[in-house]
C-alpha cells in the first residue's frame, strides 16, 4: 500500500524531531538548547518540503488534502469543525507566547572572580603570586605524611563543608535545597578546581562569601568566612583532600 505523501512527510519530520531529542538527552546526556533545536527543525522542514515538492505528483500529495479540505464542498462539515477550532487555538498559543511572566530577574555573577594580588588573614599578608600549599611537596617526598594530611583534610571537610558541597563533593549536600542560589561549587566537575591554583582555593575559602569582590555577589553567598573557624593549616589540608578525592590536579605555572 502506498503511504500518502502528507502523512509520510509528517512522520519524517516527527521522527527527525524525536531522534534529535533522543540523541541529545539519552545518548549524549545533555538536553539540546531550544534555539539549536529550532534551527535544526527549520532546515529539516525546508528539506522535507523541497524533497516532496520536487515534482508535481508528490507536490499534489502534500497540497491536495489541504486544498480539498478548504475548497471542496463535499468536505464542508469537516471544514466547519476545523474553522471553529483554529481561532481559539491561535488565541491560546499566542497567549502562551506573549503572556507576561513573573520570573526572577537574571543576575550575573562571576563564579571564579579574579583574586586580589594579596590579602590579609590570620594576622598576616598573603601574596597570591608566591603562595603555595606547604603540604604539596610531601606528595612525592613523604607519601605517608601526605596521606595523613589528606585524612586530616577529610575530617575538616566532613565537619564543615559537606553540608553544602556534599558527601560526593558534587555540590549537593543535605542543606543544598536551602542554600542553592548561588549553588555550592561542584568539586568533581571538570573545569572547576582542576583549572584553579591551590592559592586561589586558599583565598576563596579563607575569605568566604563576604570576602568576594562585587562581581562575585558577596551579599548572596552562604559560604562562611572560614578564617574565623578554621586554621591556616586546616584550610591547606582540606584543599589537599579536595584534589585527592576528585583526582583533579591543581593548576600550576611552570617554573
Amino acid at each position: 500500500m502506498k503511504i500518502p505523501g502528507l502523512i509520510k512527510s509528517v512522520v519524517i519530520i516527527w521522527a527527525a524531531w524525536y531522534g534529535i531529542v533522543y540523541l541529545f538527552t539519552d545518548l549524549l546526556g545533555a538536553p539540546i538548547p531550544a534555539s539549536v533545536m529550532k534551527m535544526y527543525m527549520f532546515f529539516i522542514i525546508i528539506g522535507v518540503f523541497m524533497a516532496f515538492t520536487a515534482d508535481e505528483e508528490t507536490a499534489e500529495e502534500i497540497f491536495g488534502p489541504f486544498r480539498r479540505l478548504l475548497f471542496d464542498r463535499s468536505h464542508r462539515v469537516l471544514r466547519s469543525i476545523v474553522f471553529i477550532v483554529i481561532p481559539p487555538l491561535v488565541f491560546m498559543v499566542t497567549y502562551e507566547i506573549t503572556r507576561p511572566t513573573l520570573d526572577a530577574p537574571v543576575e550575573l555573577r562571576a563564579v571564579h572572580p579574579a583574586p586580589p594580588s594579596s590579602f590579609m588573614a590570620f594576622g598576616k599578608s598573603f601574596n597570591m603570586l608566591t603562595l603555595e600549599n606547604p603540604y604539596r611537596s610531601l606528595e612525592r617526598g613523604k607519601p605517608d605524611k601526605f596521606r595523613e594530611a589528606v585524612n586530616e583534610g577529610r575530617t575538616v571537610y566532613y565537619t564543615n563543608c559537606f553540608f553544602c558541597h556534599g558527601d560526593k563533593l558534587e555540590g549537593k549536600g543535605h542543606f543544598v535545597k536551602g542554600f542553592n542560589n548561588p549553588a555550592p561549587a561542584n568539586f568533581r566537575e571538570v573545569g572547576a578546581i582542576g583549572q584553579l591554583q591551590e592559592s586561589f582555593l586558599f583565598w576563596r575559602i579563607a575569605v568566604g562569601g563576604p570576602g568576594l569582590p562585587n562581581e562575585g555577589a558577596p551579599w548572596a553567598s552562604p559560604m562562611p568566612v572560614w578564617k574565623d573557624f578554621l586554621t591556616e593549616d586546616q584550610i591547606w589540608k582540606v584543599i589537599l583532600f579536595l584534589y585527592d578525592y576528585t583526582g583533579h590536579r591543581p593548576r600550576t605555572f611552570g617554573k
Binding site: R73, L102, A104, T159, G166, D167, K168
Partner: protein
C-alpha cells in the same frame, strides 16, 4: 591472532577477574567513600557524626531502620543495598547508584555486614533473615482510605497527630534506643520519608516498624496476638497515608508574587480569601555561617502568600513544626523550651543596582529590616546590621498567629509606605529582595541558632496587568477568522 592473544594476556594480567561480591573491594570503597560519616571501624563515629541528626548508622550493632524483616531483626541484603543505592531521603546519606555499579554496591553490602558478627552467626545457625509477607495490596478506594483513617486514629495519631504533621501528644519526648531525640515523621511531606515513599515502602514501615525507634511494628506475626493489625489493616493504613502525602517536594519559588486586591487585605490567617493564591515554597537550611553555628535544624521550609491594596501589604507565612513552643510542661529529658519564631527580612531600601545587603542579617553599610514574630513577645521590627547585630526599632508590625495540629500560620501586615522606624517602602512592579528565618523553640533554637534562607524576590503585581495581556492573542484569533471568512466567501462563489 598473536596480537589478539597478547591483548587477552595483558588484560588478564592487569584486570584480574574477581568476583565483586567480596569484602576487599567493599573495604576499598568504604575507606574511600563512607568513613567520613560512618567512621573507620563502622561505629558511625566518623568526623561528621557530631554535626548530624539523624546520626550515621553504627554498623557494629547491625540494627537497620528500613527493613523488610520484623522489628529488631537483621535486615535483608537488599535492604542495605537499597539504602546505599537510593540513599535515605532528607538525611545526609545520598544515593550512590550514580557513583557505584551493581557489583560494587553488593561488595559494599558484604563489607558493611562484616562489621557485625550477627550476620555470620545467623547464617551458621541457618537463621537467615526472612522478609515479612506483604499480603495483597488493595485498591486505594474511598472506603479503604476511610477504614485506614479509623485505624490511623487509634494506632498512629498519638505521635503523628491528627493532620499527619507529627504533632501528636507523645511527639515531644521521643528518643531512639541510643538516647538521641527523635521526631515522628511529618507524613504530609513525602520527599522526606527516609526509607522511600512508594506505597510498598509505607506499608513496610507500618508493618515492620523502624528498628531502634519508638515506631513499633504494627502487624503481629504471631497468630495468637489479636491486638495488632492484620496485613490487610496495614494496607488500609497505607491507603490513608497515601491520601495525605505529597510525594514530590514543591519547586522552590524564586519570586513571591504579591497579589493586588481592591478590597481589604485579609486580617485573619485562616481567611478563605488566601485560597485563591497558591503558596510560594521557600526552603530553609541551618545557620552554619556565623557565630554559634546550628547544624540540627528541624524547620525545613516556609510557605508564603501575600496580598496588597492601595494602603497595606499582608504576608502570610506557614510552616510545619510538631510543637507550639514554649510548652506548658516540658519533658524531663528535653528541657529546652524557647519560643517559636519566624522572621521576614527585606533591605531597608529597595536596592537600585545589583548590590543587595548581605543575605544573613545585613551589614553595617547595607542594613536590613526584619519583621519578627515570636510566640512569647510582641511582634517587632528590627534593623539588622549583621546576624549578630540587630536592634529593635519603634516601628509597628501587626501579626496574627494561629497554631493548629503541627502548622504555624503567621500573618504580617503593615502599611506600604515605610519610614526610618518601619524601614522599607514597598513599590509596585519592583523586584524586592526577601528572605526568611525560623526558630523551633522546642529544638532549643534561639538567637543566631536558627533556620535561614538565601535572598528570594518579592514582587507587587501590576493590578492593571489584567486586560491588556489578551489584546495581542485576540487580534491573532480575529485575523485567523478573517482568513476563514475569505475562504468561505471564495468557495461560495465557486459553488
Amino acid at each position: 591472532m598473536i596480537i589478539l592473544a597478547l591483548l587477552f594476556i595483558t588484560f588478564g594480567l592487569f584486570q584480574p577477574e574477581f568476583s565483586y561480591a567480596n569484602e576487599p573491594v567493599g573495604k576499598e570503597i568504604y575507606d574511600r567513600l563512607c568513613l567520613g560519616c560512618h567512621g573507620m571501624t563502622g561505629k558511625g563515629d566518623g568526623p561528621a557524626a557530631s554535626v548530624l541528626r539523624p546520626k550515621p548508622r553504627n554498623f557494629r550493632l547491625a540494627r537497620y531502620k528500613y527493613t523488610q524483616t520484623q522489628y529488631g531483626k537483621l535486615p535483608l541484603d537488599s535492604d542495605i543495598y537499597k539504602a546505599i543505592a537510593e540513599g535515605l531521603h532528607g538525611t545526609a546519606m545520598p544515593g550512590w547508584s550514580d557513583t557505584l555499579n551493581h557489583g560494587e554496591i553488593e561488595s559494599l553490602v558484604d563489607y558493611i555486614k562484616s562489621f557485625s558478627k550477627k550476620f555470620a552467626k545467623a547464617k551458621a545457625k541457618g537463621r537467615e533473615p526472612a522478609p515479612i509477607p506483604i499480603g495483597t495490596p488493595p485498591l486505594f478506594s474511598v472506603k479503604v482510605i476511610e477504614k485506614g483513617r479509623k485505624l490511623y486514629n487509634v494506632y498512629c495519631k498519638k505521635c503523628h497527630g491528627g493532620t499527619g504533621r507529627g504533632s501528636g501528644s507523645s511527639a515531644v519526648s521521643l528518643t531512639h534506643d541510643l538516647g538521641d531525640r527523635i521526631w515522628p515523621r511529618n507524613l504530609t511531606e513525602g520527599w522526606l520519608y527516609r526509607g522511600g515513599n512508594r506505597s510498598e515502602d509505607i506499608f513496610r514501615t507500618v508493618a515492620t516498624g523502624i528498628s531502634g525507634t519508638p515506631m513499633p511494628s504494627h502487624v503481629s506475626f504471631n497468630p495468637e496476638d489479636k491486638s495488632a493489625l492484620t496485613l490487610k489493616d496495614a494496607w488500609n493504613v497505607t491507603a490513608f497515608v497515601d491520601s495525605i502525602i505529597t510525594r514530590e517536594e514543591p519547586k522552590t519559588s524564586e519570586v513571591l508574587v504579591v497579589k493586588f486586591t481592591n478590597g481589604v487585605v485579609p486580617k485573619d490567617p485562616t481567611d478563605p480569601k488566601w485560597n485563591i493564591i497558591s503558596p510560594g515554597y521557600f526552603p530553609l537550611a541551618g545557620q552554619i555561617i556565623e557565630g554559634e553555628r546550628w547544624f540540627k535544624t528541624t524547620l525545613k521550609s516556609v510557605y508564603a502568600r501575600a496580598f496588597y491594596n492601595e494602603k497595606r501589604i499582608a504576608i502570610l507565612l506557614e510552616w510545619d513544626d510538631p510543637t507550639d513552643s514554649p510548652l506548658e510542661k516540658t519533658p524531663e529529658n528535653f528541657p529546652q523550651n524557647e519560643p517559636d519564631a519566624i522572621a521576614i527580612q527585606f533591605p531597608v531600601k529597595i536596592p537600585e543596582g545589583m548590590e543587595k545587603p548581605y543575605f544573613l542579617g545585613g551589614s553595617a553599610s547595607r542594613p536590613v529590616t526584619v519583621w519578627k514574630w515570636s510566640s512569647e513577645s510582641e511582634a517587632k521590627i528590627l534593623t539588622g546590621k549583621g546576624i549578630l547585630r540587630s536592634e529593635k526599632t519603634d516601628g509597628i508590625i501587626s501579626v496574627n498567629h494561629v497554631y493548629h495540629e503541627g502548622r504555624h500560620k503567621a500573618l504580617f501586615s503593615r502599611s506600604l509606605g515605610g519610614d526610618t522606624q518601619n524601614g522599607i517602602t514597598f513599590v509596585r512592579d519592583r523586584y524586592i529582595p526577601v528572605a526568611f528565618n525560623g526558630w523551633d523553640g522546642n529544638n532549643g533554637e534561639k538567637n543566631e541558632q536558627r533556620a535561614v534562607s538565601v535572598w528570594y524576590w518579592l514582587l507587587l503585581e501590576e493590578p492593571t496587568g489584567g486586560a491588556s495581556v489578551y489584546y495581542i492573542p485576540a487580534l491573532a484569533g480575529f485575523v485567523m477568522i478573517f482568513f476563514e471568512l475569505l475562504i468561505i466567501i471564495k468557495t461560495r462563489n465557486i459553488g
